[in-house]
Assembly symmetry: D2
Homo-oligomer: 297 residues x 4
C-alpha cells in the first residue's frame, strides 16, 4: 500500500434520478486521477453513505477501485452503527480491493457510546479487518467526539493506521499528534484548517474542497513540505470562503453544485437533502472565481 499521506478527496456519489450514475462517476474518477491527489475516500460523509444500501456500497467501492489509478489509494467508508455490520462491510470492501477502511464512530446511542464502548468497537473492527483501518471523528454530524486519550490507546493497534479528525479543534489535533506513534497518520478533515494541522504534524487531509480544487489543496501540502509557510498561508486564507460553502453552509448539495461548475458531474443529492437555489449557486460561483478556479458552467 502507498503510504497514508497527502491530500485525499472524499468524493460525492453521483446520482441521476436518485440512481447511481456510473458513467458520470467514471468520468469524474478519470479527472481526479490526473490531479495531485494521493487518493479518494468512497462513501465518506460526502458520499452520502447513510443513503446507500449495502449492495450499492459494495458495487461502488469495486467500481471506484477499478476505475481509479492503481498508484493512488481508494479508501472505503465502511462504518455502520453496529459492530457486526461494520465488520461485514469492511470485509466486503477488502474483497473488492480497496486499500483501507475509514470507520466513523457509531453515535446514535450517545448515552452508551462512552470511551470504553468506542475502544472495544474499534478493536473488534480492526481485529476482523483484512485492511488498514482509519478512525473517523466527525462531531459536526455525529454529535460525538473522540478524545485524545481514546485515540492514543487505539493508535497502538497494529491495524489502526490513522485518523481523519473533522472536529476543527486544533488543540485536540495537536494533542493527538503528540500522543500517537510517528507513523500513525493524522489527517485534517476539512480544508479550513489544513495548514494549521500540517504545521502541527498532520500527514495530510481528506477534504471536501479537494473534490473541487484538488491542486490548490495539494499545493498547500507541498508548500508546507518545502518550508514555504507564507505562500501556503495565502492559499489557506483564500480557500476558506469556498470551503465553508461546500461544507458547513450548504453541505453536499453545495459541493455537488460546485462540481457542476468546474467541469465535473455533481448533480443532486438523494432526498431528503434539497437542492440549493440560484442565490446559493451564485455565492459558490463567486467564491470559485475569487479563488481562481476555472468555472465551465
Amino acid at each position: 500500500m502507498s503510504s497514508l499521506k497527502g491530500i485525499f478527496a472524499p468524493i460525492p456519489t453521483p446520482f441521476v434520478d436518485e440512481e447511481i450514475a456510473y458513467d458520470k462517476l467514471e468520468e469524474n474518477l478519470g479527472k481526479w486521477g490526473e490531479t495531485g491527489l494521493s487518493g479518494i475516500v468512497v462513501l465518506g460523509s460526502n458520499g452520502e453513505q447513510p443513503f446507500l444500501d449495502e449492495e450499492e456500497k459494495i458495487e461502488l467501492w469495486a467500481f471506484a477501485r477499478k476505475h481509479f489509478p492503481e498508484d493512488k489509494l481508494v479508501i472505503a467508508g465502511t462504518g455502520c452503527e453496529s459492530t457486526r455490520a461494520t465488520i461485514r462491510l469492511t470485509k466486503k470492501a477488502a474483497d473488492v480491493g480497496v486499500d483501507a477502511a475509514l470507520v466513523i464512530t457509531p453515535h446514535y446511542f450517545k448515552a452508551n457510546m462512552k470511551d470504553p464502548a468506542l475502544e472495544q468497537y474499534y478493536r473488534d473492527v480492526a481485529d476482523n479487518s483484512p485492511i488498514p483501518v482509519l478512525l473517523y471523528n466527525m462531531p459536526g454530524n455525529t454529535g460525538l467526539n473522540m478524545t485524545p486519550p481514546l485515540v492514543k490507546r487505539l493508535s497502538s493497534h497494529p491495524k489502526i493506521k490513522g485518523i481523519k479528525d473533522s472536529s476543527g479543534n486544533i488543540v485536540q489535533i495537536s494533542e493527538i499528534i503528540r500522543d500517537v506513534p510517528p507513523d500513525f497518520s493524522v489527517f485534517a478533515g476539512s480544508a479550513s484548517f489544513l495548514l494549521p494541522a500540517l504545521v502541527m504534524g498532520a500527514k495530510g487531509g481528506t477534504l471536501a474542497a479537494a473534490n473541487v480544487a484538488p491542486d490548490l489543496c495539494v499545493k498547500i501540502y507541498d508548500l508546507v513540505n518545502e518550508g514555504k509557510i507564507e505562500e501556503a498561508r495565502v492559499i489557506q486564507k483564500d480557500i476558506l470562503a469556498l470551503n465553508a460553502l461546500v461544507t458547513s453552509k450548504y453541505g453536499v448539495a453545495g459541493l455537488k453544485a460546485a462540481l457542476d461548475m468546474v467541469g465535473y458531474f455533481g448533480g443532486l443529492p438523494r432526498r431528503p437533502i434539497l437542492p440549493i437555489g440560484e442565490q446559493e449557486k451564485a455565492e459558490i460561483r463567486s467564491a470559485l472565481e475569487k479563488l481562481g478556479v476555472k468555472t465551465v458552467a
Copy 2:
C-alpha cells in the same frame, strides 16, 4: 384503528448471541399484552433500530403484530436517513399489518436538515404511506430538534396523526399542543415528564419505563384523566429515579437489565453497546424496589 392515546412501550428487541430471539419476544409480548398498555412501538430507539437489517425489521414487525393482542396497537419505527428507504420500509411495515409508523427525523447531514428539508421529507413519506404517520423528535440521539412551527405545518397533513416528543422541553411541548388540531396526538417521549405533558394536553406517552413498569405509567395517565393530580404527582416523582437509569444514564443496556429483573427477558444489546456492570445493576434493582415494582431475579 384504535385511537392514538394512552401509554405505549417502545419495546427492546431481545437477542441471544446477537440473533433475534423470537421465543423470548413472544413471551414478553404475552406479558405486555396483559397490562393496561394501549400498544407498543417496535423498533423505536430502544428496539436498537439502527442495528437491524431491513429483513430483520420486517420480520420483527410481522411477528410482533401477530403475537400482540388485536385490540392494542403495534407501531413500527420505520425512519431511515433517506426518503426512499423510509418510504420503502413504511410500505413494508404496512404490508405486514402494523397500525402506524413512527418516523424519526433524518439527522446525519445536519447542515442540510433545516425545516424546509424536514417538512418536504415528512410530506413525501406521508404521501406514500398506507398507514398513519407519527413524527418522532429525539434530539438527545439525533442532535436535531423539530420546532413547533414545523410541527404545526405538518399537523395539517391528513396522514400525519401525531408526534412523540422526547426533547423533555415542556415549553416546546406546550407550544406544539397549542398549535396542532385537537385530534393530533402529542405523546410524551419519556416517563420523566409524563404528568407535566398530560396536564398540558398530551394524549399519552411512549415511554421506556413503560416496558418495566407499564401499570404505574398507565396509573399516572388514568389519574390525570380522573382529575386526581396530587395522586399522579406522587407516582410521577417516584418514577423519576428508575426512568433516568433506563434512559439517559444507562440507555437500552440498563433497560434490558431492568427487564431481566422484573420477569421479562432483557438480555444484552448488540455491540458496540456494552453490558452494564454489577454496580449499575444494583442501582437499578434498588430503584425498582423503592418504586414497589416486584423483582424476580
Copy 3:
C-alpha cells in the same frame, strides 16, 4: 415574613436618560401593589442588575421596600461574582429592610464553579446573611446549571429557603421538588412552564410576564390550587407567546416595551442593550391583544 409562595414579579429598573427614575418606579410600584402579586424581586435579571453600581442597588432596594405594600414581599437580587461582595450586598439589603435575598450562581470562572465551589459559596453567603436566601439558577444567562444533588444538599441549610429555577427543565424541577424538604420553596423562573411546575409541586413563580400580566399569572396559580387544571391550561397556553417575546426573544428591551403598552412605565434599558424596533413592538402588541391584556399606548 410572609411565606414564600405565590406569584412574584422581577421588576425592571426604570431609567430616564440612563439614570434611575424613582418617580416612575413609585408609580409602577403603586400599580403592582394593587394586583394579586405576592411580592416583587428588585434587581433580578430583568432589573438589569449587572448594570447598576453598588450604591444604586442599595438605594433602589430601600426605595422599593418603602413604597411597596408592607404585606407583600420585596426580594433583593444580591448575587455578585465574589463571595465577599455577595455577603456585603446581602447585609446591606437586609439593612434597608428587604425580606429575602435572591442569589444567582457566580459563573464567570466556569472551570472553577463545580458543585463543591458552588456549595461552599452558598453556605458562606447563607451563614452571613441576616435574611432568608433563595438560590437562583439561570443557565440561559450564566451558562451554568445547579444540579438537583447540589440543591438537595443546600436545602438543609436553615437560612436557604428556596430556589428560583429558570432552566425550564421540568425534569430537573421535578427532581428538586422530590429531594427538598416540604417547606423549601421551588419557584418557576418563567411563565412558560408555570403550570407544569405548579402541578409538580412548585410553590409559585417569579416571572417576567408577571410584570405585564400579573393577574393572569396569579389566576393560573389560583386555579391550580382550586384543582381547576383545565381552566389553568387554557391561560397557560395563551400566555406562551407573550412570554417568549418578553424573555428569550427580546429580553428586557421587550419587557420594557410591553410595560409601556399596558400603562406602566417601561422606558429603555441601559446600554449596550438596544431598544427594539417598531416591528418587534407590533409583535408584542399583538400578543398582548390576543391575551386580552388591555393596552393603553
Copy 4:
C-alpha cells in the same frame, strides 16, 4: 506606544487573606519585567477581574504601570457589562497611564447581545477611549462568540487596534486575520494554539502559560519569525499539558499554584474559587518538570 505584537502575560492578582498584596505583585512584576514578554494584561480573566471593586482596579493598574518596565506595555482589562461603566473605567485606566484597554464582550443578557448591540457597544467605548482598544473574545467564560463579520466591521475603527481571541477556533481566527487590515493585531488567547495562530498570521499571544513559562512562549514566537517551524512545533506540543492544567482544567487556581512552584508568588484566588488539592498540584509539578521549567517550591 510600542507596537501590539509579541507575547503578553495576563497576570493574576496576588491576594493575602483576600486583600491585594502589592509587595508580592511588585516582586512578580520585577521578574516578568526581565523576561522576553512584550507586556502584561492587568485584570484580564486571570486577574480575577469580576472579583475586584472599581477602586481596587484603578489602584492596581496604576501600581502595575509604575512598577513595570517602561518599554513594555501594560494593558488594562476594563470591560464591564454596561457601556457607561466600561467607558468610565477605560478613562480611569488611561488616566493612570496604561497603554491600551482589553474589553471583553458584555454577555449576561445573551438574548440582547446580538451583533448590532455588540458593534454599537464597542463603537461607543472606542469613541470615548483615550487609549487603543483591544476586543476580547472569550466564549469559554462568557458563553458568547464574536463572529468574524463583526470583528471585520469593528477593525476599521481608528481606536480599535486588535483582538484577543480565546475561542481556540483556528478557522475563525484565520477568517478574522483574512478580513482585518494588516496592522490590526490578532492575538492567540491561549498557548494551546499559539503556533497555529502565528502561522496563520497572528501578531502574538496573551497567554496564561506566559505567566509561568514566559520565555518558552516567547521562544515559539521567535522561532516562527525565524521560519523554524519544526523547532517551534516541538515546544508547542510540549506546552499543551501544562497549558491545560492552568486554563481549562484548574483555571486561575491552577495558575496560581503553578506560579508558587516556579518562584513567583501565586497564593490563593478570592472565593468562591476553591484552592486546588495536593493531587492537582502534583499534576502541575509533573507537567512543569516535563517541560523543563525549573521548580523551586
